[in-house]
């Protein structure tokens, strides 16, 4: 389990190194694929892209194909790795759940000040839906791209029907991928989502943010780590901790020692930070 509460730093580990590598490999190779895919269309000369500094090669379809292949290698290998690895590990946090559509609407409404967000898991309901959509588009692009690649190397005379399907799935996939990318950027631009940006670069998000917005997720981690919820709760400064708080579960005998150590940690950590914990960006 890589997810971990680092209470003294007011952080929680959201993504493992492996997940960060997967994300950025797909993102960077995907952007190269969009760019070189566009250059596979006869646009560079017509739209004077070749006159831009550094883009003189953009009308050379063979050079673009070379780059498209290079990026497609990373994209396909990592995309399939992602499905296989997390499938094998049984990690389902990003898969859509029942009721996600309705919950998404509630969350989106809350962005514009209508109502409150429901307590959420690690991923937001619309994030799970977006993930499924993106995964589908990526899979379509990979499958159709593989057919096109096979045709280029081994079967220039393959069935025209199959080829037309592959080509149009690829072209439509391209448009959808591009739109999905824009939607992804738009989601990041929304203020409530800002704290997650640091997560995709460093793997960690602020603990108080997570507690505030992803309370269900934190509960899961706490259960996993056997940390009583309130103990690691930094949103309530430790000094003023209310000992009579009803929700505080009694620590299990076996973990008493560990918990006390953690609490030590929390106190000194909070003092080190020297600033009041924030609740929202």
């Amino acid at each position: 389990m890589t997810e971990e509460i680092l209470a003294h730093k007011n952080l929680v580990v959201r993504h493992s190194m492996l997940e960060l590598i997967e994300h950025w490999a797909i993102a960077i190779s995907g952007l190269i694929l969009i760019l070189t895919g566009i250059f596979e269309l006869p646009v560079a000369k017509r739209y004077y892209i070749i006159t831009l500094p550094g883009l003189g090669w953009s009308a050379d379809f063979i050079t673009s194909l070379y780059l498209h292949y290079a990026a497609a290698f990373v994209f396909s290998a990592v995309g399939i790795f992602h499905l296989a690895y997390h499938g094998l590990r049984g990690e389902k946090g990003l898969l859509p759940q029942k009721g996600d559509a309705a919950a998404s609407i509630t969350v989106i409404k809350s962005f514009i000040g209508l109502g409150k967000e429901p307590p959420m898991h690690k991923y937001l309901p619309e994030q799970r839906l977006a993930y499924a959509g993106m995964a589908f588009i990526i899979l379509m692009l990979i499958l159709s791209g593989l057919v096109k690649t096979y045709k280029n190397i081994y079967a220039p005379d393959m069935s025209h029907t199959v080829l037309l399907w592959a080509t149009w799935i690829h072209n439509i996939g391209f448009v959808l991928f591009f739109l999905a990318f824009l939607a992804h950027m738009a989601a990041i631009a929304l203020r409530p989502n800002w704290p997650m940006v640091r997560g995709i670069f460093t793997g960690k998000v602020r603990l108080d943010y997570a507690r505030h917005r992803h309370s269900l997720w934190l509960k899961e981690i706490e259960q996993e780590q056997n940390i009583p919820a309130a103990v690691s709760d930094e949103t309530t400064p430790p000094a003023k901790m209310d000992p009579t708080e009803a929700t505080q579960p009694t620590p299990q005998p076996g973990t008493q020692h560990a918990v006390e150590e953690k609490m030590e940690d929390i106190r000194s950590g909070a003092e080190d930070e020297g600033k009041p914990p924030q609740t929202e960006a």
Partner: protein, 330 residues
Amino acid sequence: MSKKINFNLTRRSFLKLSGGAAALAGLSLPKGADAATDRQLATLIDLSLCDGCKDLQAPACVTACKTINKDKIPEVVDNIPEPWPRKTIEDWSKKKGVFNRLTPYNFIYIHKAQIEGKTIFVPRRCMHCDNPACATICPFSANHKEKNGAVVIEQNQCFGGAKCKDVCPWEIPQRQSGVGIYLHVLPGFMGNGVMYKCDLCDERLKQGKMPGCIEACPRKAMLIGPRRDIEKMADERARAMNGFIYGKTENGGTSTFYVSPVSFEQINKTMQKKPGQPDMKPDVKRRMAATDPLGKSVLAAPALGVIAAGVLNWFAGRKDQVKKEEKGND
């Protein structure tokens, strides 16, 4: 399905054009064989035979091709949309008669070469390459290769972006603006007409007829037949005249074999590459071949992904196990 018919037709054409059964001695046609190579056709252009039809107003092959394809291009719209931002419009609809170069209305022309006092006539058209970049990287797959080897542009699927022309070493396909589906999508921003070139008379082949140019040639300078046989015949003829072959290795191999008593180096020197007038550089490379190794690694990428997932999952499983044991020992 049409495979059988093709064979029959091929045999018939072969007999006809090689001047009877005698000329065919030693050649055998494939019998029921299904391998792709057996279905492929090829053409032979014998430059020792072509005389450019110099006594005719226009070469017979050119006239035949023009006649067959005269109604191919639909009527061009009156106001051809001006493409943005580069304003290139290519309109040949008022110059349909031109036959000294390739145009959307002219798929074959005869180049005249003077070499050491001799005149050589070189019919030029699409070579129907073995792995034609013009077809494989058409973004709409409008240009595609048939099992019989014909490289065909479907005019109702083509946007006229001219990518095929750019990647063809001979820049064979020619554009007619103001026709095609781009008119119904985003004219002005996307597409610019339809690309046209020789399609080896694929329709006629499917009807059991010979390509028009081959049928019309009074000198029998051009032949069509099963690829294996035509290739053999080209070798034999070249050997007999102590001559040269063009089209066997060029652009990664083609299904058009030129046989000539003078070298193609010399012939090429008489050619200046101009729009619609290709040169004939010997051993011109198939540039896309350089991308094949990387393409093969792309095909292997998903398997690599699965293997990596299996390996990492195994390690992760081990780590979990160790953790559990440690917890148990606490």
